[in-house]
Every structure is written in structure tokens, then in C-alpha cells.
């Protein structure tokens, strides 16, 4: 028996694993190539913490107990009060598939089919210290709420200027990227919610620096425009369960209408808008005399060195803001609110400024990116309990945030994107009785917003929906 201090030794160092006490030949013999790299600065082998589970198994197989594992063991968690609804068949199937795959893999389910419940059930059955990573603070707070109500556990929060680390903690992708080096060895299970956010060049490091052996990725829309979703196999695990979007429609989700409401600019808005357009056209025409291909990018590049270009750029942003905040949109909102008095409605604004304008006009609460935990909970609870008839959100409510039982959604601004549209629809499509869900799109006539609306409608989320104009 070797003395303990010369035994092979595995430890966690700020998001990486360090391994020492064996010869280079032996390291090459034990492990697959490409995982370990010699680090002369500290005199040890280094690898991403991602490989912890595999390394631990390999070393136990090779050395039995004659090696030192100094990677801390996350403490088991006892759930104070488990009160989870029993899983629907497809949820149970997803959970079983994940269990089969050594608890490492991705579950793909459409919005509104209960991904969160699958994750909570996984947490309940493993009893593991868990880190939940969500894209935005709203979702982070929502996970906090769901863990509290489903498992009776008051999870820690890392993010939104808070740092309260607990055996079960919720965080955002950005905070995970920053802190994973310090907290990466504290969890047995890591849940990546809306995991399509993970493969970005920086955010992926959150997964690489995390030692948690059990991993669960959740999403409705795994594809990424850059094709990087294939890396999720490596970062999270293989796809263990996938339910296609079309299959879910009609079974768990309600049919819905999409109604487009065109609005015109007011005369003074139109005048400013046209003046801005003329200014930009004039500037570009002047430039194109010298450089035929002159475009928006050139204009931006030039704006630092040319006041005229900067004026044109400003005019462009003013046009955008006129579209975004067209006064007529508020009038249309009034009509829609009248039409749906007594029904809960969510308004999606294209900017914070417009969201606050709606809020101040109609005295309805907002959920904005800077809304803090307490107010956020009060507003969301108030909305779901029917104390607030309307909430206004900017893009933060785009994705995965539960807003129960809203039957009316009004989009009065924002960017087109297939995923966003899907997620937004998911908000209002939750099945509750037989009330028809309606999505209104309030769009400025004859301008770019119509284009965006068209792009939205082309996506498969809109297939088989009825389109009306009023």
C-alpha cells in the first residue's frame, strides 16, 4: 500500500479538475486522449470539470480505493415537503428515459407541456444538490417559486445582484458563466432550462466548468441558427426524449386565433417619420454618388467621424421609436381591453419605454427586466389570482415564463423570430377549459412591423391557425 500522499489524486480547481500522482504513460493508458492536458504551472494534469463523472468511474475501476478523491461530495438534500402533481404519461416517459440514460441527457418538449414538472420530479427522486440554470431572471425567480411550492425548499439565488448559495440554487446563464469556477463542484445535478442558450461560445463554459455528474437539459426549441446545438450532446448528454411541437397541439394546447390589427401613424408622427425617412434617403443618396454600395453598415461605421452620418443614424432610431410608440397603439389597446373586459390579458411591448407608457396610461402593472423579486411575485401572483386584469411585459416574458390562464395576448412591438413567436404563443395557449385563445398583433401600417408580422406567421407555430383582420 502506497502512503496516502503519493496516491493518485483528483481535485477541483476553479472549474477544472487537477490530477496528479501518476506518470504520463499511465495517464495516457487510463484515459481517452484529449481530455487531460499537462499544466506545468502547477505540476499536474488538468481537464474540464465536465469530465468528473467519467474520471471518477475510470479511476475507481483502475485503482479501486487506492486514490484520493478531493473533489467535494455535494451533500444530499432532503425535501421538506414534496407536493408534486403526478406526472402525465409523456412526462413520466421523459423522466424514465432520462433515468435510463444514466441521468445525463436532454428532454425536448413543447412549451406548456410541463418540462418544469419533469425536472422537479428528477430532483425529488435523486435527492441531489441541484443547480438550476435559466436564461433570464424572470425564469430564475419562477424556478425559485416552483421549487418552493413543489418541494418545499427555499432555494438560493445567484444572479440579479444576489449571491445566496444553497445546496439547491437557481441562477442565470450569465451568472453561471461568471461563478461556475467557484461553485462548479457543489452540485450533484445541474438542470439547464431552455438549454438552447447553453452552446454559445461563452455560456458553454458554464457546462464545461461544472462537475455535476447528473445533467438534465430542457427545451422546446433545441435548434440554433449557428448549428451549435449538436454540442449539447457533449455539454449535457444525448437527447433522451423528444416530443414534436405539432403532436402537442390539440392534445395539451388549445387552438388559437391570430388577429392582426393595423394602425396608422397620427399626422404629427407621420410628419416626423417622413422627415426622418427623407433625411436618411437624402444622406444615403449623397453617399452613393461616391460609393454605389453604400448601406446601413457603412453609415454606422462613419457615424463616429461624421456628424451628418450620426444625424442620419439618429433619424433612423427616431423612426423606430415612432413605430414602437405610435399613439394609435394605445387607442387600439383601449378597444381590445374593452372587448375583453373580464378576461386576463398580457401585453408585450417592444421596449421598456412603451411598456411604462402603457402602464401609466391604463394603470396596469409591468414586469420589466429591472423588476425586483418581491414586486415580480406580487404582480404575477396578483395576475394569476385575478387581482390584476392585465400585465405589460417587454421581451423578458418571451420565453418559458409561466403566466397562468391568460387567454388574450397583445403584441404591440418587438422583433420577429421564430423561437420568440413560439414562446409567446406558448404563453396564451395553456389549456383551460374551452375558451378560445387570441393573439393580437398591433402593427403600424405600411412599415417594417408588417414585414416582421409576416415572418412570424410563416413559422410553423402559426400553421393551421386562423388569421383575421379587423
Amino acid at each position: 500500500m502506497q502512503p496516502a500522499n503519493t496516491l493518485p489524486r483528483l481535485s477541483f480547481d476553479r472549474g477544472t479538475l487537477l490530477f496528479s500522482g501518476v506518470s504520463p504513460q499511465e495517464v495516457r493508458g487510463i484515459f481517452a486522449p484529449g481530455i487531460w492536458t499537462w499544466d506545468g504551472r502547477v505540476g499536474a494534469w488538468r481537464a474540464d470539470a465536465l469530465h468528473y463523472a467519467a474520471a471518477r468511474n475510470t479511476l475507481s475501476g483502475r485503482f479501486g480505493t487506492a486514490w484520493r478523491n478531493e473533489v467535494p461530495d455535494p451533500p444530499p438534500v432532503r425535501w421538506p415537503k414534496v407536493g408534486l402533481p403526478s406526472l402525465r404519461p409523456e412526462q413520466a416517459e421523459a423522466l424514465a428515459a432520462w433515468r435510463e440514460a444514466s441521468r445525463r441527457g436532454q428532454v425536448i418538449m413543447p412549451t406548456g407541456t410541463g418540462k418544469t414538472e419533469v425536472a422537479l420530479a428528477a430532483m425529488a427522486e435523486t435527492g441531489a444538490a441541484t443547480l438550476v440554470v435559466a436564461p433570464i431572471r424572470d425564469l430564475m425567480y419562477q424556478w425559485h417559486r416552483r421549487i418552493l411550492s413543489g418541494l418545499g425548499y427555499d432555494a438560493g439565488i445567484v444572479g440579479d445582484n444576489l449571491y445566496n448559495l444553497q445546496p439547491v440554487t437557481v441562477t442565470t446563464y450569465d451568472s453561471a458563466y461568471i461563478h461556475m469556477g467557484e461553485i462548479g463542484a457543489r452540485f450533484g445535478l445541474v438542470v439547464f432550462d431552455e438549454e438552447h442558450h447553453l452552446p454559445g461560445p461563452c455560456r458553454r463554459e458554464a457546462a464545461m466548468m461544472c462537475a455535476a455528474p447528473m445533467r438534465l437539459g430542457l427545451t422546446a426549441t433545441p435548434e440554433r441558427w449557428d448549428g451549435r446545438h449538436v454540442d449539447l450532446d457533449h455539454l449535457v448528454g444525448p437527447v433522451v426524449y423528444a416530443m414534436p411541437f405539432q403532436e402537442a397541439r390539440g392534445r395539451t394546447l388549445a387552438e388559437f386565433d391570430v388577429v392582426r390589427v393595423p394602425v396608422a401613424l397620427q399626422p404629427d408622427e407621420q410628419a416626423t417619420y417622413d422627415a426622418c425617412s427623407r433625411q436618411i434617403r437624402h444622406f444615403i443618396a449623397l453617399r452613393r454618388r461616391g460609393a454605389p454600395g453604400y448601406g446601413w453598415k457603412d453609415l454606422c461605421a462613419e457615424s463616429g467621424a461624421d456628424p451628418a452620418a450620426r444625424q442620419a443614424q439618429k433619424a433612423y432610431f427616431l423612426k423606430q421609436s415612432i413605430e414602437d410608440r405610435a399613439a394609435e397603439k394605445l387607442r387600439v389597446l383601449e378597444d381590445l381591453f374593452r372587448l375583453h373586459t373580464g378576461q386576463r390579458a398580457i401585453v408585450f411591448a417592444g421596449s421598456n419605454a412603451m411598456a411604462m407608457e402603457v402602464s401609466r396610461r391604463f394603470l396596469v402593472p409591468t414586469i420589466l427586466s429591472h423588476t425586483r423579486k418581491r414586486e415580480r411575485l406580487a404582480v404575477l401572483d396578483g395576475f394569476s389570482e385575478g387581482r390584476f386584469p392585465v400585465i405589460v411585459a417587454n421581451r423578458v416574458l418571451d420565453e418559458g415564463v409561466d403566466v397562468p390562464e391568460a387567454k388574450v395576448a397583445v403584441v404591440i412591438g418587438g422583433q420577429a423570430s421564430t423561437r420568440q413567436a413560439k414562446q409567446r404563443l406558448g404563453r396564451i395557449l395553456r389549456r383551460t377549459g374551452n375558451v378560445q385563445a387570441v393573439l393580437y398583433e398591433v402593427v403600424c401600417e405600411t412599415i417594417k412591423e408588417i414585414e416582421r408580422s409576416r415572418t412570424r406567421r410563416r413559422s410553423d407555430a402559426y400553421e393551421r391557425t386562423r388569421h383575421r383582420r379587423i
Binding site: R41, R360, V364
Partner: protein, 416 residues
């Protein structure tokens, strides 16, 4: 510090050139800086967005001014400001109260055309009466906690226009380093400061000697051996002001460009950036300063250098206060124990043991010795100031020993 959204970097043949306002080409920026400072100094009580608009307006006719530069100035001015925040969440409380009162009256319409509808102005007036504030007051306070609407409370500011511009230049350097993957510093002086601050910034080092009194130090983070990563960019940026305060160094940082290619940022103490940190104390203590002055740059064939050598073993380093180099090639380190506690002495002893293969001369204050303790070889005891004579004696004894050892060694063995 700025964020990467404020960074202005030009790339020229693989070189990264961060935005810099220079005395020659940007002389008129001194006037701009003065006016910006004036906007903030006279802007107490104004909303953040108003201040930003005012600053932006100053540059309306300036041909040479990217939007990012204006935003960066606003950020640096904000960094030196205190805004009225809302620690008790007054605005949020007011919102909940007003919205709760308005909820049963939803929707507030401009023109009633049904019996049970509620007219906007009437309803708002009624809610205002209930809350006990004028409606305009309520409307103004409703979102007073939103960043853009916060009001300036006080402005600590910058000493003068030039200080603001210097801060801007360093901040752009730092923002450029956010994209850095690794950094190499070649140093001839101030090694102690450089290594100490790098460690504080949580960087790992790899030290090579490049010649007498010249070290090359590669800085990076743990995962840097596994892949090129920008995650330590913030650490480099944090370390930079300490480096700028030092003398005798060159720095090269490898950066990721927005087009996923590589570029280098090259910098040295000759670039004359003004650090926000004070320069490292010329000497750690008066004892050292006194000794260096008395000794002079050279004496009896020994040249005196300050913090110019580093002994490294993995991540443990020892930078002796002084290095003595004799004409015949003998080198000895001189470490002065000035400030002391038992823990400090124990730690120092441990470090010295680790590097016991080197010639290290120690100066120890008399009061730190236990009564009757024998100082031992290579230790000079001093009371209030270090005398030159005993140091020279110890140095010469050390040199004599080295020469004798060398003579005893068989020819061809060069390990000294």
C-alpha cells in the same frame, strides 16, 4: 470600469489599438471634458437620462466622436456619481397601491360609451385623492426607481478634465482586455508588485528568466491550458492598473477579435498611461530606503538592484528586496525583514527553506530575535538602520565560499 459595449478598438495588421485621446490630436477634448464635468457638477437633482442627453448634446457638432465614446464618458461620470436610489422600494410600493386601486376599474377609457366604464382622467383623480398626492406627483414617482429616471444626488467626479481623459484612456485599455486570452509581461523591475497584484486578480503565472534582471511572465487562468478562453479577460483588466503603475515592463496580450481571429495588444511603461493606482512605494520601508541610499548604486564591485529577480517554484514566488551582482558573476539576494510578527517570520522561513539552494542574505531586526538566539550564517542583525559594513562582510564571505566551491569542482561541471 466600462463594459465591452463601450470598447472602441481598431485592428491594424493584427495589432489591437484601443481608443486613446491624446494631448496632440485631441487637445480640444480637454474643453469637452471640462464641459462634461460641468454638466454633472451642476446636474444635482436631474434625471440620469437628462444628464446623458446633455453630454450627448455637447458632441453634436464634433466630427470625431463615436457614440460609444459618449456612452463611455457617461459611464465613467456615472461611476463617480451617486444617484438617488430607492432602497425601501417606495416606487414599487406606490405602483402596487395604485395598480391595485385601478384594477377593479379596468379599463380606463378616454370616452365612456357604456354605463359601467371608467373615464381615465376622472379615475386617476379619484385614485390620487385616495393616495393623498396630486396625480402629477404620482405619475412622476411611479417609475422613479428605473435607472434612467434616477436623480443625481452627488458627484464625486474627477480632479480635473485631464484626470477624466486619463481615466477614459485606461478604461478603454481595460475594456480591450476583456477579450484577452493570455498576457505576457516582460519585466526588469517591480516584480514584487506585478506578481502580488496578478495574484490578487486571481491569475496564474509561468515565469522564465530572459536574461540578467529580466523576467518573462505568462499570465492566464486555470482553464487556459485546456482552450483559448476569454473568461479571464476581466482578471487581466483588473490587474492592469497595477501594471501601469510599475516601471520597466513590456506587455503583450492576445485577444479575440469580433471576427474570431486573433490580435495582440502591445503596451509598455513608455506608453505613459496614468494609472488610477499610486506607484508602488519606492521602498517597502524606510529601513530599505535608508540602506539603498547609503549603499548607492554600486560599491566595492557589487551592483545593487531592486526587486529585479524572482525565485519561482510553481505558484510560490519569492521576490527578494534587493539583488547584489558582483563583477565576477556572483549573485546574492538580500531580503530585509522589517515589519514582523511570529506568523510572518514563520511564513518567511518556510519560503526561504523552499529556495534554500540560492544565496539569500537576510537582515533581521534585533528585537525580533529571542534572547540569546544565535543569528546564524547569512543573517545580518540591525537595530534601527542597516549598516553597510556587515552586509559587505557577509557578501564577501559568501563570494569567497562560492569561489572556493567552484575551484573544488571538477572542470566541466557548470552547475553553480
Amino acid at each position: 470600469m466600462l463594459t465591452s459595449e463601450h470598447a472602441i478598438v481598431e485592428y491594424d495588421c493584427g495589432r489591437a489599438v484601443p481608443d486613446r485621446l491624446e494631448r496632440k490630436g485631441h487637445a480640444h477634448y480637454v474643453a469637452f471634458a471640462e464641459r462634461m464635468l460641468a454638466v454633472y457638477r451642476s446636474g444635482i437633482g436631474r434625471e440620469r437620462r437628462t444628464l446623458h442627453r446633455q453630454v450627448e448634446a455637447l458632441f453634436a457638432d464634433e466630427p470625431d466622436c463615436p457614440v460609444r465614446r459618449i456612452r463611455a464618458f457617461c459611464k465613467l461620470l456615472d461611476d463617480a456619481s451617486t444617484y438617488q436610489d430607492d432602497p425601501k422600494g417606495e416606487a414599487a410600493k406606490l405602483r402596487l397601491r395604485v395598480f391595485t386601486a385601478a384594477a377593479p376599474l379596468h379599463p380606463l377609457v378616454r370616452q365612456k360609451d357604456r354605463l359601467f366604464e371608467h373615464e381615465e382622467a376622472e379615475t386617476k383623480a379619484a385614485i390620487a385623492a385616495e393616495v393623498g398626492m396630486a396625480w402629477d406627483d404620482i405619475d412622476r414617482r411611479l417609475y422613479a426607481d428605473v435607472m434612467a429616471f434616477q436623480r443625481l444626488n452627488s458627484f464625486q467626479g474627477y480632479p480635473d478634465a485631464v484626470a477624466l481623459l486619463s481615466r477614459y484612456n485606461v478604461a478603454q485599455l481595460q475594456a480591450c482586455l476583456y477579450a484577452a486570452e493570455r498576457m505576457t509581461v516582460t519585466a526588469t523591475q517591480d516584480l514584487k508588485t506585478i506578481l502580488r497584484y496578478a495574484k490578487l486578480a486571481r491569475l496564474l503565472h509561468d515565469i522564465r528568466r530572459a536574461g540578467p534582471s529580466e523576467c518573462v511572465i505568462d499570465f492566464s487562468g486555470p482553464a487556459s491550458v485546456l482552450r483559448e478562453t476569454r473568461r479571464y479577460g476581466v482578471n487581466f483588466a483588473r490587474f492592469l492598473p497595477a501594471l501601469l503603475a510599475c516601471k520597466g515592463w513590456k506587455m503583450t496580450a492576445t485577444l479575440q477579435t469580433p471576427w474570431k481571429t486573433r490580435a495582440v495588444l502591445v503596451l509598455s511603461d513608455r506608453d505613459r498611461y496614468t494609472s488610477a493606482l499610486p506607484p508602488p512605494d519606492e521602498f517597502d520601508s524606510t529601513v530599505e530606503e535608508g540602506f539603498a541610499t547609503k549603499f548607492g548604486p554600486e560599491r566595492d564591485g557589487w551592483r545593487l538592484e531592486r526587486e529585479s529577480e524572482v525565485l519561482a517554484d510553481g505558484q510560490t514566488v519569492f521576490v527578494p528586496d534587493f539583488v547584489f551582482r558582483h563583477e565576477d558573476g556572483t549573485m546574492a539576494f538580500f531580503e530585509i525583514v522589517g515589519f514582523w510578527t511570529p506568523e510572518y517570520l514563520a511564513k518567511k522561513r518556510e519560503t526561504l527553506r523552499q529556495f534554500r539552494g540560492h544565496h539569500i542574505l537576510l537582515a533581521v531586526p534585533e528585537r525580533s530575535l529571542r534572547e540569546g538566539a544565535e543569528p546564524g550564517e547569512n543573517v545580518v542583525v540591525y537595530k534601527t538602520a542597516i549598516k553597510i559594513e556587515p552586509v559587505l562582510e557577509a557578501l564577501d564571505a559568501l563570494r569567497a565560499r562560492r569561489l572556493r566551491d567552484q575551484a573544488l569542482k571538477p572542470p566541466g561541471d557548470s552547475s553553480a
